[in-house]
Amino acid sequence: MKISVFWIGVAVALVVALLTPHVVTNEFYLRTAYTVLQFVVLATAWNILGGYGGYVNFGSAGFFAIGAYSAVFIYKLFPLFQVPDYMIFVMLPLGGVVAAVIGLGTGYLTLRLRGVYFSIATLALAVVLQTLVTNWHFVGGARGASILPPQTVPIFSTWGEFLFVLMAILAIASLAVARYIERSWIGRGLAAIRDNEEAAECMGVPTLKLKLIGCTVSGFLFGVAGAPLPYYVNYIEPVSAFNLVYAVNALAMPMIGGATTWIGPLLGAVVLGTAQEVARVTISSEMNLLIVGVLLVFFVIAAPDGFVGLARKYLGNRKSR
């Protein structure tokens, strides 16, 4: 039986994720890593539709927030039935499923639009979702909702350690899903759509079906990335949950890393996310979006295929010598 390097890497990454809280006891580093890993999931989720299929989604923050608010819904609902802690294991899949259903619905409604029109529709969707949540008092509405973390966490000594491991597993799983899609008939079909949708349709590629699959999987991953957010922040309100920063980063990270492969969003999220987190506590928070902006402009002009494109170019040149 042949085991690929990728799956060995996945196994190693899982072991490292599980061991890290025992080695890194300082919660700050774990929480910083959580934020970076969250962006790995977001960037990967965006890339499935945006990178593989060429459909640019500006509504990422909406799907992410729906995942978060699904978790808040469960949190608010469960105490009514006296169910104890550790609801996060229910919240995670629920957040994902709700976001996936919305993704599927969005797909049906918007995928006949193309280019900038599709992007505007997704942005509008995020605004509609925010308005709905703002007026839904059960989940806190405009006032927001406080989420109290459980007093104890099994296996781990702090809630921060648990959240880190959880997000690391989600990041690894999302990369595995993205890699599977990229290398399967879905990824090849999405690539055909990206290159020329009419030609793909004429060649028998089931474009609508593929785009719907892309929307649903992408929505699911956005949702599961958002579901732990209420437990990370402990307080959630619509303005910050639907923050445009999530949408900008989810788009910029794959663009900088390389949007046509599963490894691009990983590279982009790690480099950009880490740079932002370091800048926040060293230079200034204002630098965060400036870093994103400057890098995005640079990569769009100088390296449109991101880090992956640069690496391919460099390695290709070396081989041809």
Partner: protein, 430 residues
């Protein structure tokens, strides 16, 4: 041989004595070195994002406190150092910043940033480490936690949602008003405030004839004022943010209030800022609104004028609220409470300090402060002021002097009687 041995022994003895002296000196110096270590107070503050203007002015107040304390030799002989980061007015950044402050920067104390949304995410982290936590303008952050080491400086009393508008409804009741219209922005403070207003209305037997929210990006408030007028309320309680407050006051001025409306205002954020007030000028006259400090003769708190004298030139240079009547004295005061507790107990132990703060009344730049069991003020002390005699383009000068914002409630600080909206518009301060 013997002599030589003796010589070596003497050298050894001398070396030993010298070494002992060095070690002893080193040991003696250790506590001194600990004393020399600055006492670090950490916090996140909104220096960018939606609350940046207020956050920057609060930071100036905190820096003035640190300088004042350090000019007197610091706390327990240690210089005070403020360690702060920009929370970007984004709650998602707060957990990371507070773990950085506590686990990496190893600050001695953490205090909150500005506002309910930015206090809430820090609470579990602070509670997990059993640290004392001073809050700056949070509304009911400790209602669910009931954490014994949390103290909050907003003077809204033990039931903050109600306390913020309590006296506004007392005025209405005293003047025989029976019907209220409540209008609130769809956002955290405004919704909390509106909820408190409903409870206050119920307590005083006042009928709510209009109760609506509007989304924060609303630009045209004319339809809202028309809808309120159509219900003929006796008074209007508005809970709004600065841009909306400007919009509401302008719309009220353009369309006019229904003849039944005798009082307008209550919970409008922004009218306290000199720059907003300057933009509205004479349109403010007659409005009754909450405030925390105004230049009236009854509010002669300990060193408040000295504080404002230091604050105002800096604020001008930084381009933030030039008068500093709203937030900066409170950002100074919440550190003042912490500093006073450290000095009085001669301790930096969180339990000792929180026990002391619970049982002590503090004299601060915002007056006497006494906290209740869950860290809110023991009783509310929100001022309700009526704007009078303000001329267009001269609001900043008017706000700096007594007369433009006369205190109607509470009784102990009262400087003028309440006038109806129409009479207040015409009145000139005495």
């Amino acid at each position: 041989m013997k002599v030589r041995n003796l010589t070596i022994g003497r050298r050894l003895l001398l070396a030993g004595v010298a070494a002992s002296a060095v070690v002893a000196a080193g040991l003696a110096a250790q506590p001194a070195a600990a004393q020399d270590k600055p006492l670090k107070i950490g916090f996140g503050m909104a220096l960018t994002g939606g609350l940046a203007g207020a956050g920057k002015s609060a930071l100036i107040g905190m820096q003035i406190w640190a300088e004042d304390v350090n000019s007197r030799g610091g706390l327990l002989g240690r210089k005070v150092e403020l360690v702060y980061y920009d929370d970007q007015t984004n709650p998602a950044t707060v957990p990371g910043l507070y773990t950085k402050l506590l686990d990496v920067d190893k600050v001695d104390f953490v205090v909150s940033g500005y506002g309910t949304n930015l206090i809430a995410p820090a609470m579990p982290i602070v509670i997990q480490r059993n640290k004392i936590f001073m809050g700056l303008f949070g509304l009911g952050n400790n209602e669910e936690y009931k954490y014994g080491r949390y103290f909050q400086i907003l003077p809204a009393g033990p039931q903050p949602r109600r306390g913020i508008s309590s006296d506004y409804f007392v005025i209405a009741k005293e003047k025989g008003m029976k019907k209220v219209a409540i209008i609130a922005a769809d956002a955290e403070y405004a919704q909390n405030s509106a909820e408190g207003a409903r409870l206050n209305a119920k307590e005083h037997g006042i009928e709510v004839v209009y109760d609506k929210s509007y989304p924060p990006p609303t630009a045209d408030f004319s339809p809202i004022i028309r809808a309120i007028n159509a219900t003929n309320p006796d008074f209007v309680f508005a809970a709004s943010y600065p841009p909306d407050s400007v919009g509401l006051v302008r719309a009220l001025h353009e369309i006019g209030a229904a003849p039944t409306i005798k009082m307008f205002g209550g919970g409008m954020v922004g009218l306290q800022y000199a720059s907003v007030a300057d933009a509205l000028g004479a349109k403010l006259n007659g409005i009754v609104n909450y405030d925390y400090y105004v230049a009236e003769p009854t509010l002669k708190f300990d060193a408040i004028e000295e504080f404002l004298t230091k604050y105002q030139p800096r604020a001008k240079a930084a381009g933030v609220d030039p008068l500093g009547h709203y937030l900066p004295p409170w950002s100074y005061a919440y550190l003042q409470v912490l500093g006073a507790a450290i000095t009085a107990t001669k301790s930096t132990d969180d339990k000792v300090l929180s026990d002391y703060i619970h049982k002590t009344a503090f004299k601060t730049v915002v007056g006497d402060v006494k906290f209740g069991p869950h860290g809110e003020w023991e009783s509310h002390r929100v001022l309700f002021v009526q704007y009078k005699g303000i001329k267009d383009g001269a609001a900043i000068d008017a706000f700096a002097k007594p007369g433009a914002r006369q205190i109607i409630k509470p009784e102990q600080y009262k400087t003028a009687d309440w006038l109806s909206l129409d009479d207040g518009r015409k009145a000139m301060p005495k």
